[in-house]
Symmetry: C2
Subunit: 152 residues, 2 copies
DNA sequence: GATGAATGGTTACAATTGAAACTATTCGCC
DNA sequence: GGCGAATAGTTTCAATTGTAACCATTCATC
């Protein structure tokens, strides 16, 4: 019994479709952040996580943003140069940085966060409340599964 | 009435979660294709679409793979160098190429396609049949909406 | 308390990607 | 049939990203 699923059509292949969706979404967002705030997406992620959890180290930021430490290091450099971040070092372990938003950084956050939520809202307006819940659950399950499949 | 949705938590922000999911999936796939077949993802997309629709031009390939013409040009170069593709030119319009898989290219396709479908199957095993249908529908709607939001 | 392994973070270099300019050909129009 | 605009595809150069090597500091063990 050979279902339609055993022939490969790119336009029905889930990894491809996810990639197309994510690209469109990420590019829309990146455009806005870059144009209006001079922020890259990695920089925005760092700001978002530090707004909620101040005084994380770079590695802790990496864990919470799904970025690697090099990406965090570069995002932090940019934000420091723009004076949107203040960096000190842990007195107990001088390898560890402590990162927090400057006043300017907080201001960027309070201006960008509503835009981000607004975009998300507009995107999810395509779905019914039930579908929104389903999407959330599906993404969670797929991430868990994809991680397990990638593990070895 | 301020629901939980008006504070931004990266870990619940749909564009972020989509990006994380897509990265994990794409990297798993890219690893396999690269390691076992020396194929990049753009190259794989070109092969997949030409397996189904032979004799497309580069621009037609671009339309069907959501890639831009530069990405297609580079993928085609790699595939030509590996002798996995044959290129001729349209006799009526000599700007247009006609691309088709060589014997070697077809052989790559028949070996990669089952792996791709198998990965997709394993990924979707995390979901019930109902959820799989739902995912398909949700992705479709989100793509349509994201395109409209990006349009202006 | 010295010494090698581990950790936090940065830097350097190569590979990938994106944007714009470029070539070749064809189309539209007079 | 000639001339400017448009199209197919490539190339070039800069910017981004990935990988590995690299410091500095701390930890574990002796």
């Amino acid at each position: 019994m050979t279902g339609s699923s055993d022939k490969l059509h790119l336009e029905h292949f889930v990894p491809y479709r996810l990639s197309v969706l994510t690209n469109i979404v990420s590019m829309s967002i990146a455009d806005t952040y870059e144009r209006e705030f001079g922020l890259t997406i990695p920089q925005w992620r760092v700001i978002a996580v530090l707004a909620r959890y101040p005084d994380l180290s770079a590695i802790e930021v990496a864990e919470r943003t799904a970025m690697d430490k090099v990406a965090v290091s570069r995002a932090v450099q940019g934000l420091l140069a723009a004076r949107r971040l203040v960096r000190t070092y842990d007195s107990g372990d001088r390898r560890r940085s402590r990162l927090r938003l400057s006043t300017a950084g907080k201001s960027v956050y309070t201006r960008v966060a509503p835009l981000a939520l607004d975009y998300e809202k507009k995107l999810l307006d395509a779905l019914s409340p039930t579908d929104r819940k389903a999407l959330d659950r599906l993404i969670g399950r797929l991430v868990a599964r994809a991680k397990r499949l990638a593990a070895p």
